[in-house]
């Protein structure tokens, strides 16, 4: 037994230190199934003290570690490191405090995103960030990736809802950033920690703000002859000064997939569907829904379908939320990209993606957060065909470069991870990347926390295939 394992065995009992090939196999990959690596061991702590002891040991031995929530990262963020350990946090899953008066919850990192809202619902409160993986992904993973969802334009990302973080840094130091107040003095270290992609240390306790649940909703589905018309409608809504809770677009390929998968119904003859949802006190929504109707009518949709009741609203969202996995089923493999473009250039971006797709002979479906310009092109391919993966990756890369060229970003919410690290240099120059590396070294001088992620270079893990997450195949989760 290697010396490191002996030391680990002093912290955890044998049944919580997994080393057999069969046990390791379950952790070889995350939501980016193209990459697989086998770690030395999986550590399964149950308490914060055990996590701290593990990180301090890793620091002492300079042993690499990867924190892991539910392993749904789409960019390879929780991919293990060869020779290192994975620290899974699923058993640190207690909601430590839920304070409806102060509208906050203090949770351990393994708490599942949707459980926070479930716990808050009896108080008419909710936790706003809602990645489509919310029924399975953890708050620890959300914090590490600053995850988003369908409501970012109005409510922001995870970071905008994290008030405090207790963490063990890769140096072994235990810190508390922020706390129960929504205000702070001094540099916002809590904001800096959020989105660190597991490179600073492990979050042990997270204080989240809760919001009152909107009293009423008004959801409209509008079908258009072209994607561009749908994009223009989004601009018109924005220009009118409305601030919808969500604005989502699906293209023809996605629509057909959703029809086949969940029998979603869309107006015939549409190349694109736009979903707009208003929310707020009933008095405000009653008035804003009239403005919305006027704006959408002027955008000349083929058909407009406002949800008449909660059931119809849920049906609209079901089609939208299932679109991703539905498209995934059209093809043996796919890559999902997450670039952002300025909203006014959405139409142009979609046109260019379409022509790149035709030119490459590769099908691309688009289902995305139109309100904030966050694209999610799904690039379909068959991994068994010689060179197909490489061609798909090449197309994905060109799409990312286009996003940067247009003044956007290579990632809106999925993070850089392993997948996009070569593109970091398209957004930041060498001085800027160096500055980030120095910051990373401040938190982690030995480079033991999630090495090989975010920054270009370093060892490349082996490729296998892109496709549905195993949990999606099992029908447990679906994605946007």
């Amino acid at each position: 037994m290697p010396a490191a394992l002996q030391r680990l065995a002093q912290i955890l009992p044998a049944d919580r230190l997994l080393t057999s090939a069969a046990e390791l196999a379950a952790y070889e990959s995350d939501g980016l199934t193209a990459f697989r690596t086998r770690p030395l061991a999986i550590a399964v702590p149950e308490t914060q003290e055990e996590v701290i002891a593990l990180v301090r040991l890793c620091h002492e031995l300079q042993l690499h570690f990867v924190a892991r929530g539910s392993g749904t990262s789409l960019s390879g963020g929780s991919l293990p490191v060869v020779g290192g350990i994975v620290i899974t946090l699923n058993r640190l899953n207690r909601i430590l405090k839920l304070d409806p008066d102060q509208r906050l919850a203090i949770v351990e990192p393994g708490v599942i995103n949707s459980q926070v809202t479930t716990a808050a619902t009896p108080h008419d409160l909710h936790y706003a960030p809602d990645p489509s993986s919310q029924s399975i992904c953890t708050i620890g993973g959300n914090v590490a990736f600053n995850s988003g969802g369908a409501h970012c334009l109005k409510y922001g990302m995870t970071s905008n809802h994290v008030l405090g973080i207790k963490a063990v840094l890769a140096t072994g130091e235990v810190v508390q950033f922020g706390g129960e107040s929504r205000e702070s003095i001094g540099p916002d270290a809590c904001g800096l920690f959020t989105g660190n992609e597991g490179l600073f240390g492990i979050a042990l306790e997270i204080t989240l703000q809760l919001l009152p649940r909107a009293e009423s909703f008004h959801t409209v589905l509008a079908g258009y002859q072209t994607l561009e018309q749908a994009g223009d409608a989004v601009s018109a809504v924005i220009a009118a000064g409305l601030l919808p809770g969500a604005m989502e677009i699906m293209d023809a390929l996605a629509l057909n997939a959703a029809k086949a998968a969940v029998h979603a119904e869309y107006p015939p003859g549409c190349e694109a569907v736009l979903i707009v949802e208003l929310e707020g006190p009933r008095e405000s929504v009653a008035i804003e829904k009239q403005s919305l109707e006027a704006i959408l009518t002027a955008s000349r949709p083929v058909e407009m379908r406002p949800a008449r009741d909660a059931k119809e609203r849920l049906a609209i969202w079901k089609g939208r939320k299932s679109a991703f996995s539905a498209v995934g089923r059209l093809s043996p493999d796919f890559i999902v990209q997450d670039g952002v473009v300025p909203r006014r250039r959405l139409g142009e971006a979609l046109r260019r993606i379409d022509s790149m797709s035709k030119e490459a002979g590769i099908r691309v479906a688009n289902v995305f957060h139109a309100g904030d310009g966050n694209l999610h092109p799904l690039i379909l391919f068959n991994g068994r065909e010689e060179g197909a993966l490489e061609r798909a990756e090449d197309l994905a890369g060109r799409i990312l470069k286009m996003c940067v060229e247009m003044g956007g970003s290579i990632t809106g919410e999925h993070g850089i991870g392993v997948e996009k690290r070569e593109f970091l240099a398209d957004m930041f120059n060498q001085y800027e990347i160096d500055a980030m590396l120095r910051l990373r070294a401040a938190f982690d001088p030995h480079g033991i926390a999630n090495p090989g992620k975010m920054f270009p270079g370093k060892e490349a893990p082996s490729l296998s295939h892109h496709g549905l997450h195993p949990l999606e195949k099992a029908g447990i989760i679906s994605r946007e």
Binding site: G186, G195, R344, S409
Partner: protein, 342 residues
């Protein structure tokens, strides 16, 4: 004092002296009361890019907030967090460095929630960009947020990109009466959990009354107000009264000239203790009970930051974790900027 005219000169200015600190309009004088060569940011002003359809703008750090607010208002947009001291001439960079948000931060968040990107000069005099220019971006570490509240001790902000929101068609202010702090706190609790989605929720200084602001389509507001006034005792303010009330709070006009002004981040549950420990002083509680602005001729035992007057920059200092020093060294290896704890 150096007064650079562009970013290039700003970088030069940083490199030219072993110890430098940038200052904006000086509306929070205590924050820069420290031995260092001062860099005046007031020539580095102007909006560089503003695209209402994108909900974003980029401006030089020395730009007065008033100029930004006016440009946004012309397109029916605004910074929802009511940046303080806008009338006194506060700059965008100074507001970020001081980390200050006004009453409106209650609904959609504070300055930290609207900052998207920065261009700054690090301790080695390099011009660097972090964050992005679009409303959604998760690439790289979120240094823009770290600069919020950093007081110029980690870098000099040169240019900032912000998210903005459409300005609600209309707003209305109510003043709810309260006889004592217990009832004010009870009102904060139930209103912040309520269905009304109020924009601002404050306890007024030298009083226990609550000021709250609702916003939205014009025709909805009287209905919401009527419902609120059915639950709580109070009255609607006229538009002029409301404007004066919020402006006086934003500009700290209630603070006596000889008192120090301190920012104390708090949680609602601590407010009772805060009031009891400052019986003779004026307190303005803002953001639904998440921050207290304290005016006192003395100082405080609460962890606070002093904006002006005779009180330590940080009161009740606690031991800072070692990571602070490591971050400081990473961003400013030559210690060109003052440290957080002078």
């Amino acid at each position: 004092m150096m007064t650079p005219e562009d970013i290039h000169e700003l970088a030069e200015a940083v490199r030219s002296s072993p110890r430098v600190l940038a200052i904006g309009a000086g509306t929070k004088p205590r924050l820069s009361q420290i031995e260092a060569t001062k860099i005046c940011m007031q020539r580095l002003q102007g909006i560089i890019e503003y695209d209402p359809g994108e909900f974003t703008f980029t401006a030089l750090a020395g730009t007065p907030l008033a100029e930004i607010a006016a440009a946004l208002a012309a397109k029916q947009q605004y910074l929802p967090f009511d940046p303080p001291l806008i009338g006194a001439g506060a700059t965008l960079g100074g507001t970020v460095a001081a980390g200050l948000s006004g009453p409106g931060r209650f609904r959609f968040g504070g300055v930290r929630d609207f900052i998207l990107g920065v261009r700054y000069i690090d301790g080695a005099g390099r011009v660097l960009r972090m964050g992005g220019k679009v409303v959604k971006n998760a690439a790289g570490f979120d240094l823009p947020k770290f600069f919020v509240g950093s007081l110029g001790r980690f870098g000099v902000l040169a240019e900032l990109t912000f998210k903005v929101f459409p300005r609600p068609a209309s707003s209305m202010t109510l003043r709810l009466s309260s006889a004592d702090i217990h009832s004010s706190l009870n009102m904060l609790r139930s209103i912040s959990r309520g269905r009304w989605e109020v924009e601002a929720l404050d306890i007024l200084p030298r009083s226990f009354d609550i000021a709250l602001r609702i916003a939205g389509p014009e025709a909805a507001l009287p209905l919401l107000a009527t419902d609120l006034l059915a639950h709580f005792d109070g009255a609607k303010l006229s538009n002029e009264e409301a404007a004066t009330l919020w402006e006086d709070l934003r500009e700290f006009r209630w603070v006596p000239p000889d008192a120090a002004l301190l920012k104390i981040p708090v949680a609602l549950d601590q407010l009772l203790a805060l009031y009891s420990s400052h019986l003779g002083d004026s307190i303005h509680v803002s953001a639904g009970g998440n921050v207290a602005w304290l005016a006192t001729p003395r100082t405080t035992q609460w962890p606070a930051m002093t904006l002006r007057g005779n009180s330590p920059l940080w009161t009740a200092p606690t031991q800072r974790p070692a990571i602070w020093q490591s971050i400081k060294t990473a961003m400013d290896p030559e210690q060109r900027f003052p440290t957080l704890d002078p």
